[in-house]
Amino acid sequence: MVTREVTAARKLEERAPEYLFVRTRALLPMRYDAGIYRSRFFVELRDHKKIWANKCPSCGRLFCPPEAACYFCHGVEMPEWVEQADEGVLQLFQVVYFPFTNPMTGVAEPVPWAHGNILLDGGAPFHHRLVPADEKVLKVGDRYKAVWKEEGRTGHFWDILYFKKVEK
């Protein structure tokens, strides 16, 4: 519904008989550098199918993917690496039912899709996609395992396709 506002300051007669617009489609190609810590993390994903976290020497928190500094302890360098398993316990999940354009690709993904936090064996919380996207199947406390891209890994989020429930 088009609403036409009339403020006290501007009378209707002064306004245009129809309202036009200019359409533009700006592309914004970017090349984001992964940085010191995440470059190493991505190399491990790509070459060895391994997930590594880094550890804050001050509070002991694990970050996965790694961070340059612990945001709880204010700018502490975190050079200690801790290897993680590619499976763990589901802590939280979300099933997305509304479609929106992914700003990374410019394409709307088919819905529903799911993502969630998995506490990896090794102690680090990890955020990735989940299959199936169904709140009746996904259950907090269940074990989930990574499904890897077998061919053509590039050192990217999508080197892991998704996490899948481990059947007992």
Binding site: T3, E5, A34, C64, V95, Y97, F100, W158
Partner: protein, 392 residues
């Protein structure tokens, strides 16, 4: 968990002018400059000032949503700020609050006497609000696993204390109550009649967050004019005094999980301590709270007021937070009814100020408002304002 250093104000500051456009999903009849102009004009008229009286203008909106680099240069036309110093600050959903806080600080510092704060959003010009918010996340990881502000992590947190079945009914009742309040607010966007059944049967956006739990995408602008104590007393019959503002930041969306609880709690902990508030629901009369959805109204109210989710739900069920209740929360309809993102946080402060002044309009609360709280939120920032009728 309070990291903030002490803040020294050189002088008190009052809100002397309030302006706000009507908020709508589409405003094809105006461009960004004209939209801003509506709010600026109303605030200047409210204060009885002209742009020549302004020492400084601070403006902002959600970064990137305007699609123009340095939009502040274009927008000078909108507020008549030719040859007036102007700056732009942005902070996601907290922008409106941050713009107002910057204006307040410029004034409290003692450098500028009368400062205009101006915030807006015109979301009908950008196709995808959620894409913009997802774009806030870390580009090497978080952006692939985010649905932006449309998220349900907070509901899972609430479900640890109260079952979804029980909570959902009270949330739906509260949503109906919010719609009733918004219907009285002439500036609100979603003025709709709702039933509990409609809310409970609306489709999922992100399980278990439903369509009618969530805020809309609005277009609108808001403007506040603040002045030093001396000037404020001359300009306005009833200036609304800013008693205090607390503002904290955290890492935003994504991989570490949102650190919302310590963020909100440290805001109110500090604010209450500094202003000798031990029982906020008795010592403060009203709360304009930034609530992206009804569930987050429950969550943030619990955090700010140091209550369990169960306790807050009980108060909600009893109608304590209704416009006519003992401790009204969002008599304006809140963010759930109106969300012109870049100015939403300022609308919270503006609506609280109008309630303190006593001329909010048809949605003025029934009780007398001497002190009011207003909260601002977005991504990695939270802010809490305390406004007062008197200077003491």
């Amino acid at each position: 968990m309070v990291f903030l250093p002490e803040v020294r104000w050189n002088r008190r500051v009052g809100i002397v002018g309030v302006g706000q456009t009507h908020h709508r999903s589409r405003r094809p009849d105006v461009n960004q400059v004209e939209l801003i102009n509506e709010a600026a004009r109303e605030a200047l008229e409210d204060a009885g000032l002209t742009p020549k009286d302004l020492a400084m203008v601070v403006q902002g909106n959600m970064p990137g949503f305007e699609g123009v680099h340095e939009p502040d240069l274009w927008h000078v036309e909108g507020y008549g700020g030719y040859l007036v110093p102007g700056i732009r600050v942005t902070l996601g959903g907290t922008t409106g609050g941050e713009v107002a806080e910057t204006a307040l600080q410029l004034c409290a510092s003692g450098v500028y006497d009368v400062v205009m704060a101006l915030a807006y959003e015109k979301q009908d010009e950008i196709d995808q609000t959620t894409s913009g918010i997802v774009n806030v996340s870390n580009p090497t990881w978080g952006k692939w696993v985010s649905s932006g502000a449309v998220s349900s992590t907070h509901i899972f947190d609430i479900m640890k204390e109260v079952s979804l079945e029980v909570a959902e009914k009270i949330i739906a009742k509260r949503r109906v109550e919010i719609a009733e309040a918004a219907s009285l607010n002439p500036k609100a966007h979603l003025k709709i009649k709702l039933t509990i059944e409609e809310v409970m049967n609306s489709p999922y956006l992100v399980y278990p967050l439903r369509y009618l739990h969530m805020c809309p995408q609005s277009c609108g602008a808001c403007c506040l004019i603040v002045a030093s104590e001396e000037k404020a007393k001359k300009i306005a019959k009833k200036p609304v005094w800013v008693k205090d503002v607390i503002h904290v930041s955290i890492p935003g969306y994504g991989e570490g999980g949102q650190q919302g609880k310590p963020m909100h709690e440290s805001c109110s902990e500090k604010l209450f301590k500094r202003n000798n508030i031990t029982d906020p629901m008795k010592q403060v009369d009203l709360f304009e709270l930034y609530d992206p959805d009804v569930w987050r109204q429950l969550q943030y109210a619990s955090w700010f007021l140091f209550k369990s989710y169960k306790e807050t739900l009980e108060l909600m069920e009893k109608g304590v937070f209704a416009r006519t209740g003992a401790f009204p929360i969002n008599p304006s309809g809140g963010t759930v009814s109106t969300n012109s993102i870049g100015c939403t946080s300022m609308v919270r402060v503006a609506e609280a100020a109008l309630q303190v002044r006593g001329n909010a309009g048809p949605h003025q609360v029934t009780k007398e408002v001497k002190k009011a709280l207003a909260s601002c939120f977005g991504g990695g920032g939270s802010m809490l304002w305390l406004l007062s009728k008197t200077l003491d």
